[in-house]
Symmetry: C2
Subunit: 221 residues, 2 copies
């Protein structure tokens, strides 16, 4: 497994770079998903479960973006996913140029869905188009049902919201209906998936959604 | 309760502004604490407990910084703390100028310890001196014991680390010793306080530390 160092892109035209990357990946038949959340929301555990559950029909590759460390990429490799670690040199988000470097190092050969595990942060990543076809965010039950009120941009711009650690909801006071209602006010079209990677609850629905996105956007293009 | 909108400071000299604010607050006999963590780590619950437990001998004022919403400041007022909400207009951190605006609106009259609840983010707030006398960070048990590896700057620059939600450690696999050892490698002088605001575990030690910091830095000056 390689670790690469990426730095802030020299170009100011992030939106154009993102659009170019998105189109190139369509031609290469790889769906790119930008996965965002705060630290400790269970991104890596969720990814491990997706890689394992879907490996018979969908080959997932993982780009792990972190300020430092390679613990996540090492973990993903142990689950059999093609993976690459990207260090952001202190940067709090990934942009399109940094994502392109990650994609080039990962390679799209044999990768149906490439998942960019963005830096753990609910603020800055929401402001930069990475070139992904789909923006997915994770909120974990221990973080609380009021988070859509506090980080509105992230909840507004995602295509899907995965609510993780649902197995802990008897321990924490998390009102799923209230949370969904906050999110739908900001983002009426968002798809919401409450799951537990530990018990498997809700995973089939999420996996079918991802398969549908892959076939709808890639196979039909 | 007032809500104020703050924007990026016009001055580039954040470090100088921070130092000036720090000295002014010493003369006004108010200790300023910059409290940082990721979203959902239990900052507001911890603060409520501190305000309630310490009100007989230490008057705590709270500056709640958020991108949006005033849910936290309303909660803090209900616990009897003097409090002010600061909106950062999308900014992912507080700087010294923004903190000064918050302090001016809060007022230091009758405030022994002013706590700035920084924006929920483990990255950007670590890069900006707010003018605080003490930097305290929170890590919650559900976030995981590997976070020091992933957010080294934040763990390196804090004076104290509070590990919250200790009552949930039977539910999550969180190795306290491993976590402490990661943190001490980055920051040998850090003080670490494992607590649960729910059960009260460890709160007396943290409160005595805060009292000691107040008396050591303010009374003796």
């Amino acid at each position: 497994m390689k670790v690469i160092e990426v730095h802030r892109s020299v170009t100011d035209s992030n939106d154009r770079d993102a659009q170019e990357l998105r189109e190139e990946l369509l031609r290469q038949k790889t769906l790119l998903i930008n996965l965002m959340s705060s630290p400790g929301s269970g991104k890596t555990t969720l990814l491990s479960k997706l890689v394992t559950d879907m490996k018979e029909d969908t080959r997932i590759g993982v780009i792990e973006a972190d300020i430092d460390s390679d613990v996540d990429a090492v973990k993903m490799e142990s689950y059999g996913a093609k993976s690459i670690q990207v260090h952001t040199d202190g940067m709090c988000h990934m942009d399109a140029g940094m994502t392109r470097r990650g994609i080039e190092e990962l390679g799209t050969e044999g990768v149906d869905i490439a998942i960019l595990e963005n830096v753990g942060n609910l603020i800055c990543p929401a402001e930069f188009d990475t070139g992904a076809h789909l923006n997915v965010m994770i909120l974990s039950v221990p973080e609380g049902d009021d988070k859509p009120l506090k980080y509105p941009l992230m909840f507004s711009m995602c295509d899907a919201l995965v609510i993780t650690k649902m197995d802990t909801r008897s321990y924490f006071t998390f009102d799923l209906e209230k949370c969904e209602s906050h999110v739908k006010k900001l983002n009426p079209d968002v798809e919401i998936f409450p799951v537990s990677a530990k018990t498997g609850e809700g995973m089939a629905e999420l996996e079918n959604y991802l398969r549908g996105q892959f076939h709808g956007r890639i196979d039909e293009n």
